[in-house]
Point group: C2
Amino acid sequence: MLSTTPRTRPGRMKERARTGREDLYAVLDAGLICHLGVVRPDGTPTVLPTCYGRIGDTLYLHGSTGSPSLRGEGEVCVTVTHLDGIVLARSVFNHSVNYRSAVVYGRPRVVTDPEERLAGLRAITERLAPGQWDAVRLPTRKELAATALVALSLAEASVKVRQGPPDDEEEDYALPVWAGVLPLRASWGEPEADPALPAGVDVPGHIASRAAPGR
Amino acid sequence: MLSTTPRTRPGRMKERARTGREDLYAVLDAGLICHLGVVRPDGTPTVLPTCYGRIGDTLYLHGSTGSPSLRGEGEVCVTVTHLDGIVLARSVFNHSVNYRSAVVYGRPRVVTDPEERLAGLRAITERLAPGQWDAVRLPTRKELAATALVALSLAEASVKVRQGPPDDEEEDYALPVWAGVLPLRASWGEPEADPALPAGVDVPGHIASRAAPGR
């Protein structure tokens, strides 16, 4: 179960809240990027897209050691959102979207242990590109030194999900207006080879199978 | 041109910065949801997905009048991100993503003028669901009273775009490793009618054409 804190207690739209830890994992593990929110030294918020990985109840984020948002100072908020469709209602007011979102709050810890650093970076790479860690050149000592890695506990998190048709006002159901959902789907295109790739290097199975799961 | 402020000055990855106002419009006008960052009263950041609309150099966001994030107090950050593909490099370190993102900073203004409120709400609805404003029941006075609308100037904004194949280390190009881009595409599915819809109400053209632009 996800614990309830002042930051994760459902406010509006309580019926959209999901409280299982597996609900949180499902949203995170279906995502490719998150939006990381930090408070700048001047007290104003910044939200930036970035990659992430998960191992158990820890989220990993990485960046350049020069990046100010990953110094492990202060609280952050990490949000992962899947937009699943547009909810087309009989009134403007009841238009909505179908979505799944996870919001994680906490103070990240800078990861210094070499083994955890490798594991965290692997989790981030494998989230974006499963199978690549074992297929490409691994990080050099110099590359590792240039990479900041932080760990964020999943202890304080909330999940919201909206699915299904519109919730219209009782009196609007009689209107001669089409209502329903326009689903939105993300899909992989055909892999595009780097023009610098020598002839004869084929798309490996772990990439080809992702682009065309039906084949 | 987008102006440069301490918050929008490109830090790392300067080559990804776009500086034209039309670049900003292009990213915003291709999006459906944004991630809104605010600083909570306890000083910690919150990032939530929400809908938006644009009219000229103003972004509109709406929410319940009970929602704490839209009271027009304090600075916010609004980020719109399109993930266009995974950049599969010859090394773990050079893996990346192709994306377009816009980040807008500012202090929102609560919109009270009835005409601007209607225009802003229309822009938000039309961003999600073009054509619906003229096809469905318009907001009642009561619904309008329950809706908070804020306007955020696009004066302070930055845009980043990454496209194309990986940037690998010179010595890695000789590796027998496939490299390139796995494109990610968002597409509309077939409209799903509300089960409560009476027989004989067809999907209107402005929705059907969106789901199947080729037909």
